[in-house]
């Protein structure tokens, strides 16, 4: 605990320099600004804003990205509450009671509840990260290639289990992603693989171009399928909850934070699970469950706290194990790689100022969001009413200029276009993009660890089962898969996804 505090103090001295505070502020502001725009979810927001950070040095870039991430999340909550438009699956639950509160003229109070809940959850999660990361990283340093391989299998399977829709398709998307990840130069032999003779592909397919194509362009096409329905923005009255409101929101925030912090660490992206579970838990515990879905403040407080706690603790597997647990972490990891930092247990040891600076800036970012957003809520509300037809050309321009500037070449732009098409096709075929992106990032790492493990074991595949940690991880993956494939759970999962 003391050790964690020392580290946090060191982090604060890094994060609290004027430059880094400015990056954090710009990140939060831009993230919220783009995140509240209708029809642009957090993944698209982050994909679009990624190129802005490339000009910065690594610490500043990651701090700004983290700020963008929190801002985008907060923007998603705002649209859920005020216009009933969740930008991401994590915010779906917030719409249930948040939008009802807004319709009753209590939208401002719902927003404050969300902001305070998220802030509290962010503070706790920061401490959890500071305490747990060194322990996990120390453990990870002892991992051999067999353990890493099994860990990635577990991570990918968990993601497929949590993904919406068909499990089979999610698994197939992972394999497709892994395959796309292999395009380029093979690290071990230097052979060019699956490049179709294109020299530009020898560095592999850019994950950033793929994310921008699928989340930027693909979603625009989907959004334009239908004539836009003018969303009715409800007026925001008072922002300040009454004493009664505070009493009602406090226990759910505490419980939501605890639940979210734990679920966020699990591979597979706990934020969605956390917000659903927190809502279900509050409804069970409540003395007045009939008020849920009709504007209960606990129905906003708990899931918002839970999803922010989970969003933040999901940094732990990425930073300590090098294993991103969701798409946003995958994008963060690819930015780290572009900046020359390999995500994994080494980061904490080799770049302590970057690591702890980033963690401290998470807390600062959360604080900034509260300070920034409560007074600016009027502006955000006005942004919400910008019609989509004026927004989408701007998104196209941003994505195009952004992707061009990452390499000063148009090749990545055409990759983005191709994945815009593929992304749209995937939407039409009910295939999820998240497993594909994660697979893409993990493909080369998985292959390398598999090769090394097999070389060390002299070609004996039993090594994955004989080593206890590896066996445990594979077992967990198998259990997750079997449990979800059971008919009874499958039905319940379908129902849960429906809600």
């Amino acid at each position: 605990m003391m050790e964690a505090l020392d580290h946090l103090v060191m982090g604060l001295t890094v994060a609290a320099t004027w430059n880094n505070l400015l990056y954090c502020f710009i990140g939060c502001l831009l993230g919220t600004l783009v995140g509240v725009l209708p029809g642009i979810g957090p993944s698209a927001t982050i994909a679009m804003l990624l190129p802005i950070t490339f000009t910065l040095e690594p610490t500043g870039a990651l701090i700004m990205l983290a700020g963008i991430f929190y801002g985008a999340q907060y923007g998603g909550s705002t649209t859920s509450i005020l216009v009933n438009l969740p930008g991401q699956p994590e915010s779906v639950v917030t719409t249930l009671d948040g939008y009802q509160m807004a319709r009753q003229g209590r939208g401002g109070i719902a927003l404050t509840t969300s902001a305070l809940g998220s802030f509290f959850a962010g503070c706790v999660a920061t401490i959890v990260i500071a305490t747990l990361s060194p322990i996990l990283a120390r453990m990870a340093l002892r991992f051999g290639p067999a353990e890493y391989f099994s860990l990635m299998v577990l991570g990918l399977i968990s993601l497929a289990v949590i993904a919406q829709g068909s499990l089979l398709k999610a698994l197939a998307m992972i394999v497709l992603g892994l395959t796309i990840g292999l395009v380029g130069t093979d690290v071990t032999t230097g052979a060019h693989r699956l490049t179709f003779g294109l020299l530009e592909l020898s560095d592999g397919i850019s994950l950033i171009a793929v994310s921008m194509g699928m989340f930027g362009l693909g979603e625009i096409i989907r959004n334009l399928e239908h004539r836009t329905v003018r969303s009715t923005v409800t007026a925001v009255s008072s922002l300040w909850p009454s004493r009664q409101d505070y009493r009602e929101m406090t226990p759910p925030i505490l419980r939501g934070t605890a639940l979210g912090a734990v679920l966020g660490i699990l591979p597979g992206g706990g934020a969605i699970l956390a917000s659903f579970a927190a809502y279900a838990m509050e409804k069970k515990l409540s003395a007045t469950p009939e008020r849920f879905g009709k504007g209960a403040i606990a129905g906003v407080a708990a899931p918002e706290a839970a999803n922010n706690a989970a969003a933040q603790t999901s940094f732990i597997p990425m930073l300590t194990l090098g294993l991103p647990s969701n798409v946003i972490m995958a994008m963060m990891a690819s930015v780290m790689i572009m900046q020359g930092i390999l995500p994994g247990p080494g980061v904490m040891v080799e770049r302590p100022t970057l690591f702890w600076g980033l963690i401290a800036s998470m807390w600062i970012g959360n604080l900034m969001l509260v300070i920034l957003n409560l007074p600016l809520i009027g502006i955000w509300v006005r942004l919400l009413s910008i019609p989509y037809r004026l927004l989408y050309p701007a998104i196209i321009v941003f994505c195009s200029v952004g992707i061009y500037t990452t390499n000063n070449s148009t090749f990545d732009l055409y990759v983005m276009v191709a994945f815009g098409l593929i992304g749209y096709a995937m939407i039409k075929l009910d295939c999820e993009p998240a497993p594909l992106l994660l697979g893409m990032l993990l493909g080369p790492m998985m292959e390398e660890n598999l090769r090394r493990a097999m070389l060390l074991s002299r070609g004996d595949p039993m090594v994955f089962i004989e080593r206890p940690i590896s066996a445990g991880l594979l077992c967990a993956a198998l259990v997750a898969l079997v449990v979800v494939a059971l008919p009874a759970v499958r039905r319940e999962r379908a129902v849960a996804m429906q809600e």
Partner: protein
Amino acid sequence: MSTIRRPKDLATGVILGLVGLGVMLVSARDYAIGSLRNMGPGFFPLVLGGLLLLFGLIIALTSLAGARDAGGGRLALRPLVFVLGGTIAFGLLLQPLGVVLAIMAAVLISAGASPELRPGPSLALALVLGFGSAAAFVWGLGQRMPLLGYWITG
């Protein structure tokens, strides 16, 4: 009466199966497979291709039975063509015309994607985004992009 309950799944399965088959063929033909102990560059892609083919087959076969899907699979060709077309136009025109005009072209073309966006507002949007982004990216962030392309400067 067709027996295909879920055409979307059938399409997904067939596409994945074909991709998997292609990856397998290319890996087996062009890259060394190696052994379990010393894997060549072809080993992992061959396995992944096989898995893709397998998943593709299962998804395609299961589409013949079970619940029907909700449908609604019509492709929206107009946004598809204009959104992607606008983006490609930016890529093609950036060097010859420069960033301002390339952005304007991208905006004007992609405006065709939405019937709600009329010519007047599109032109205004193109001007704002063209000059605005040039200012933000080239002057503000110092990105290296030609303001005027070689067709104009000669």
